[in-house]
Amino acid sequence: MADTIHVGMADLVAIKKTGILVTLGLGSCIGLVLFDQEKKIAGMAHIMLPDSRESASVVKPGKFADTAVPKLLDEMKALGAGKAGLKAKLAGGAQMFNIPGKSSSFLAVGARNAEATKEWLKKFGIPVVAEDTGGNKGRSVEFNMLTLMLTVKTLGMGTKEI
């Protein structure tokens, strides 16, 4: 049985060869997975907010889309990943509450998280090969290094592999 590593809020983890990366109960946050199929290296980040420039300080790079993507890349390169073969999968970015007539940017932060994450992936030239974002339900995600599949569990909607 492969090791299961839980990736907490604003954390990021890179692994080599085997392992399962898990994040439970994603709402507006994003579970981002990058992987290098050839070298068997993968990483997961649990991104909370779109842009570190809106914040006073950055204690954990995994917290923001603009800091998480380059930091996760660095961690994976340190394990030997090549930039050329990298691919991305992501899930999350839901809007848990909806108040008619109110467009609070905080309630819609999920969509901005998904957008910013994809924008940064594009800047680094990493293709998104699978995505399950948006909607109004939370998700738990699990990435298996061996199968390279991201299992997404959504309350009341079952489980799917992307």
């Binding site: 809020m9 109960g25 709402g27 108040i99 998700r139």
Partner: protein, 206 residues
């Protein structure tokens, strides 16, 4: 100002807001349900945003959350949080008819509407306490009800606090509805928008 810089005097003041707010909320809930409602001693503390959901359970626990937003003098979000199974008993207590003859969609709609109203009444009473303490006018939005995993609900709380820094103000209140087959417990969570903290503390004179 980040939450990490709050003084212990200010924390006491916020705890007192939580205390009075919860007292009001308990009275309202008691009137609504016709049951005795106990309140726990409220806590107010500064914790890392990454640990918020741990204070309420496990990330995949099923919960029901009702959120309302206030604008104007105090832009703030208030959440009434109960366990999913408790939300069902609470809704059924408030719906004065037998739902079993209805189809499931209809039952769900009735419960949803009852829970929105519970949230409205409980959070409205909490807001009234803040209004009385501060003199602020706090127009509240309509309630938004969500049923989901605790972790997913708490993302909302963490991301609002997270804009300012890595600390969150946890005002943990508890309400318990007695004289039911299963005792029902809930909490009110208060999440001011960035910047709203200063005005609240200033009004409280700390």
């Amino acid at each position: 100002m980040g939450w990490g810089e709050i003084t212990s005097l200010q924390l006491d003041a916020v705890r007192e807001v939580g205390n009075i707010g919860t007292g009001n909320a308990a009275t309202a809930l008691s009137q609504m349900t016709g049951r005795t409602v106990d309140i726990g001693v409220p806590e107010a503390k500064i914790i890392p945003i990454y640990e918020i959901s741990e204070h309420y359970g496990s990330p995949e626990d099923l919960v029901c959350a009702v959120l309302i937003r206030t604008e104007g003098d105090l832009p703030c979000n208030f959440i009434f949080l109960i366990r999913e199974e408790d939300s069902r008993s609470l809704a059924d207590l408030l719906i004065p008819m037998d739902l079993s003859s209805m189809d499931e969609d209809m039952q769900a709609q009735m419960r949803e509407s009852a829970l929105g109203e519970v949230g409205n009444v409980v959070l409205g009473a909490f807001l009234n306490a803040i209004s009385m303490l501060t003199g602020y006018v706090l127009p509240a939005s309509v309630p938004s009800v969500a049923h989901d995993m605790l972790g997913a609900i708490m993302d909302v709380v963490a991301s609002i606090f997270g804009v300012l820094g890595d600390a969150a103000l946890l005002v943990k209140t508890s309400l318990r509805v007695k004289d039911m087959e299963h005792e029902v417990g809930g909490s009110v969570i208060m999440v001011p928008d960035p910047g709203a903290l200063e005005s609240l503390l200033q009004r409280l004179g700390v």
